[in-house]
Symmetry: C2
Subunit: 217 residues, 2 copies
C-alpha cells in the first residue's frame, strides 16, 4: 500500500477510500494486513485521478465508468456510451426548454444530414438539442440557422473521431483497450477545448498587432 | 420584473439574487418599487443561464466574466483571456505534477512549433502542460510523443479558431460583441465536444455492423 501510494502519487487514505468504494480492485492478500498491488492498480489510480482532475467528473460518474470497465460482459460500444453519458451535462437544455421542439428537430436533421448513425437514446444527441435550444434562445435565432453554423465544426471533427475509433489497439487485452478508450474520450475532449483556446488567443494576438485599433484584422 | 421573468424564463427570486450579486444591471426606476427592464436585461439573463447550464461554470467564474463585460475599459482580447480562464480547470495538472517539467517544455515546444502567439501567463498554456503531464503519467509515455499526437487535433481546430476571431461583428456596439464572444467561447467548446462524441458513436456503430465481431473495422 505504501509503495502503491508512492508510485501513483495518491495518498494511502484516498487509496483506502477508492478500495471501499469499489473503484480500485483489491490486491492479492499476502498477510492479514498486507496485499500485493500490481501495475494494473497504478494504472487504475491514474485513470481515476485523470477523470476527476482533468475530466472534472463527479465521483458518481467515475463510478459508473469504472463499473463498465470492470465488467467484461459490457461491449466496447456500450463503454463508449457510458463514458459519453458521464461527459454529458443533462441539466443543460432541459431547464431552458420551451413548448416547441424545433431545436430537437433541427439537431436531428443535422445528424441525419451528416449521415451519422446515432441511437435515439444517445446522450450526445439530447445534448446537441439542448445546446441548439440555448443558442437559439440566447441569440434570438432560428434553430435551423444555428445547426447550419455547426457544419464547419462537424467537418473538422469528423475525421478526428473516425481516426480515434479506427486507431484503437484491437489486439490488446480488453481492460487496456477500454481504459485507453475512456481516457481518450475524456482527455481529448479537454485537449480540443484547450487547443481551440490557444489558437483563438493567437489569432487575437496577431489581429491586434496590425492594425492596433480594430478588434480583428 | 414579472415581465422580465416571463420573457427570460428565470424566476423573480433568481433575478433578484442576480441583481444583488451585480450580475444583472438594475433597471431604470420608474417608481419606488418599480423598474423598467429592456432587451439588454433579457440578453444578460440568458447569457448567465448559458454560462451556468451549458458552460457548467461556477457563480464566481460567471461573476468575473460579467465584470469584464460590464467594464468598457477592458479590451476585447482581455475579455477573451478572462473567458478562457473561467473555462480552465487549474486543479488539473498541478496535483499530478512531478519534479521534472518535461511536460511544460513539450507543451511550449508544441505551441512554438505551430507558430502560435500565446502569452506566458495564458491559462490555456498552463492547462496544456497539465494535460500532457497527466497523459504521460497515465500511459507511461514520453511528453514529446504525446504532444506529437495532438498535431491532428490542432490542425483541425486552427482554421475554426481563426474563422471565429475573424467573424466577430467588428462594427456592432461593444457589449453585443463581447457577449457574443463570451457565449461563443463557452458554447462552441461544448459544441465541439458533443459533435466529436456523436461522430465517435457513429464511427463505432458503423464499425460494429460489419464485421460484427471486431471492435472496429
Amino acid at each position: 500500500m505504501a509503495e502503491l501510494s508512492r508510485t501513483s502519487g495518491v495518498t494511502p487514505a484516498t487509496i483506502k477510500w477508492y478500495l471501499r468504494e469499489g473503484l480500485l480492485p483489491r490486491g492479492a492478500a499476502t498477510a492479514p494486513n498486507q496485499a500485493d498491488y500490481g501495475p494494473e492498480h497504478v494504472r487504475r489510480l491514474r485513470l481515476i485521478r485523470a477523470l476527476l482532475d482533468i475530466g472534472g467528473l463527479s465521483m458518481a460518474r467515475v463510478r459508473s465508468i469504472v463499473g463498465a470497465i470492470d465488467d467484461p460482459e459490457v461491449p466496447l460500444d456500450e463503454v463508449v456510451r457510458i463514458a459519453h453519458a458521464a461527459l454529458a451535462r443533462d441539466e443543460g437544455g432541459a431547464s431552458l426548454q420551451d413548448g416547441s421542439d424545433l431545436a430537437a428537430s433541427a439537431a436531428d436533421a443535422f445528424i441525419a444530414g451528416r449521415g451519422w448513425s446515432v441511437k435515439a437514446a444517445s446522450p450526445a444527441r439530447a445534448e446537441l438539442a439542448g445546446l441548439v435550444r440555448t443558442i437559439a434562445h440566447l441569440e434570438g435565432r432560428d434553430p435551423t440557422g444555428i445547426v447550419g453554423g455547426l457544419a464547419p465544426y462537424a467537418e473538422a471533427i469528423e475525421p478526428i473521431a473516425a481516426a480515434e475509433v479506427a486507431g484503437l489497439p484491437a489486439g490488446s487485452p480488453r481492460d487496456l483497450v477500454v481504459e485507453r478508450l475512456v481516457a481518450g474520450t475524456v482527455l481529448m475532449e479537454r485537449a480540443l477545448g484547450i487547443l481551440r483556446r490557444l489558437a483563438q488567443e493567437s489569432a487575437f494576438e496577431v489581429g491586434h498587432k496590425d492594425p492596433p485599433a480594430g478588434p480583428v484584422a
